[in-house]
Amino acid sequence: MNMIRLVYYECVKTFLKKRTYLGFLIILIIVPLVEIAMKIEGGRFTGATLRSLQQDFFFVGNLFNGWIVAHQLMNSLWVHIPLLISFVAGDQMAGEATAGTYRLILIRPVSRTRIFFSKYLTTLVYTIVFVGFLGILSVGLAVALMGTGDLLVFDRGILVLPASDVAWRFFAAYILAGWSMAAVATIAFFFSSFVENAIGPIVATMGMLIIMLILGVLPVEFFQSLQPYLLTSYSSVWTKVFADPVRWDEILTSVIALGSYSLGFVSLAWFIFVRKDILT
């Protein structure tokens, strides 16, 4: 059976569901609201950000532009994006169990493995579309409203990236962000594959991320030794492209770690799903 067709019909199911658009709606409200407010506030926004630095440094020219706004927004939104992603990813399998539609689809002459992976690929499609939408809206609108210019970032110190060197970094940052969110979506998908309501996977995914985040910052030797194994140590991989020079070796390590997380969780979910008795 054609896998592309299965993924297509899974996408039809996902993208015709109202809850799929909740995340898009939130982004569609927050991003223009914040960026228009920043445009109105103008230089006061950068002024507040740089206030502490202005005691030691003297800044020449206008650092307030679309790039810096888009960068700031990317930093602040990534706390909430996993929640919005897990909202749909956590419903992929659990939604079928809740609705009783496993009984409709799993009695067909197509293997559970194919059904499982068509659902997983649909989850990844949703994640990529969502991150892409966020990127296009937040960067596109910020640049349209406030133009371009040099980008001031903090990376082991103050770094000013020239305007001509920024666009590709945003592009690469959103690709890496998509990869990172795919790992989050996979965890939500994993929880979704063995529970019967969609709330559980969302709570479990967020709970897991929060626990890892806390463990990662606690100044306790034992917890610090766990850091290489925590997803949250790698999930902000996209920030690394705003460095000069870009630390590609660190990016590669993070990409492999995130990929391993995705592979591990999707394998475990598959193992559970193909053996599962459908009792709902």
């Binding site: 299965l6 039809v12 199911k13 015709l16 539609t101 409709l104 009695i107 059904i115 008795d277 459908i278």
Partner: protein, 306 residues
């Protein structure tokens, strides 16, 4: 006898320590309307879930068209359509979209075929309405439509008349009969109502507490054993006199409360009624009952009390 198209061998399912189904051997032949009968909780749905691969058996196997569902699931399910328990769909999608989803999992379908099955179950006019606007009866009919989508040779329906009003029940029953009669489909139909199975099925199996009680031709099973006729009326002395007479052909009888239970052939009932009337008995009721019916009622009642 032709080769069976559905066969279960020593089929068992254990949930923790409890056997939901134990050592079940069923056989369904081409053209059968096979009634799968048992009280609620007898193991019917668990069996049907095993037939359609929703549940893995603890022991035993199911063969559909000669293919094991455990070893060759794809071939086994290729010519099978089914509906398990209540018909659940993607409520936010239309009937057409739902059937497209089902079709995609069967190697694709056409809009023409979707409308054919919707017309067959009388839902063509509501094809593009969201399923959440459908009544229970309409969902039940859509459930049968999805089971027919791939034009299967074998259709497995789990309590398809559950929750329907008498008119809805009659419509589904007629649809099942027409599928077997006009389209030469083999149908496995589970129910907890003997009367329903009696009307539509030619072969049946009775299951209780997960174990097979009896299996065979409906007619021969219902005709086998003793037939009881329950008579109520007055005066009691005259009823007793008629039942005791050789002319009534009653083999034996006993009084149970206000009722007389007579063991006799059903063919002799009209003659018995005639004799009762002639002897001046005011008949209130004469109810023929078969041993299987009594047996089934007894297991149904005992399970509902439990």
């Amino acid at each position: 006898m032709p080769d069976s198209i559905l066969q279960t061998t020593c089929l068992s399912k254990q949930f923790k320590k409890r056997f939901a189904v134990r050592n079940l051997n069923l056989e369904v032949f081409p053209g059968d309307i096979f009634g799968f009968l048992g009280p609620n909780g007898a193991g019917k749905s668990t069996t049907i879930r095993m037939l359609l691969t929703l549940i893995k058996p603890t022991e035993g196997d199911v063969h559909l068209f000669g293919h094991s569902v455990l070893k060759n699931r794809h071939e086994a399910l290729k010519s099978v359509g089914g509906m398990v328990e209540k018909p659940d769909f993607y409520l936010y999608l239309s009937a057409v979209r739902n059937l497209e989803q089902v079709g995609a999992l069967q190697g694709g379908t056409t809009l023409k075929r979707i409308f054919e099955v919707l017309e067959l179950v009388g839902l063509k006019e509501r094809a593009y309405d969201r399923v959440k606007t459908y009544s229970h009866g309409m969902k039940q009919r859509l459930g049968i439509a999805q089971a027919l989508l791939n034009d299967p040779e074998l259709i497995v329906l789990d309590e398809p008349t559950n929750g329907l009003d008498p008119q809805g029940t009659k419509e589904i029953r007629e649809l099942i009969l027409s599928l077997a009669r006009d389209r030469k489909k083999t149908v496995v139909l589970s129910s907890h109502l003997l009367s329903e199975i009696e009307i539509v099925a030619n072969r049946m199996a009775v299951i209780n507490r997960g174990e097979l009680v009896v299996q065979g031709e409906v007619k021969s099973l219902l005709d086998a054993g003793e037939h009881h006729v329950i008579i109520t009326g007055s005066p009691a002395t005259r009823i007793r006199k008629v039942l005791a007479s050789r002319a009534s052909n009653v083999r034996s009888f006993r009084k149970q409360g206000e009722e007389y239970h007579a063991v006799m052939e059903f063919g002799d009932v009209p003659k018995l009624v005639q004799l009762l009337v002639k002897s001046g008995v005011k008949i209130e009721s004469v109810i023929p009952r078969r041993s299987l019916e009594d047996y089934f009622l007894s297991i149904t009642e005992s399970s509902s009390i439990a």
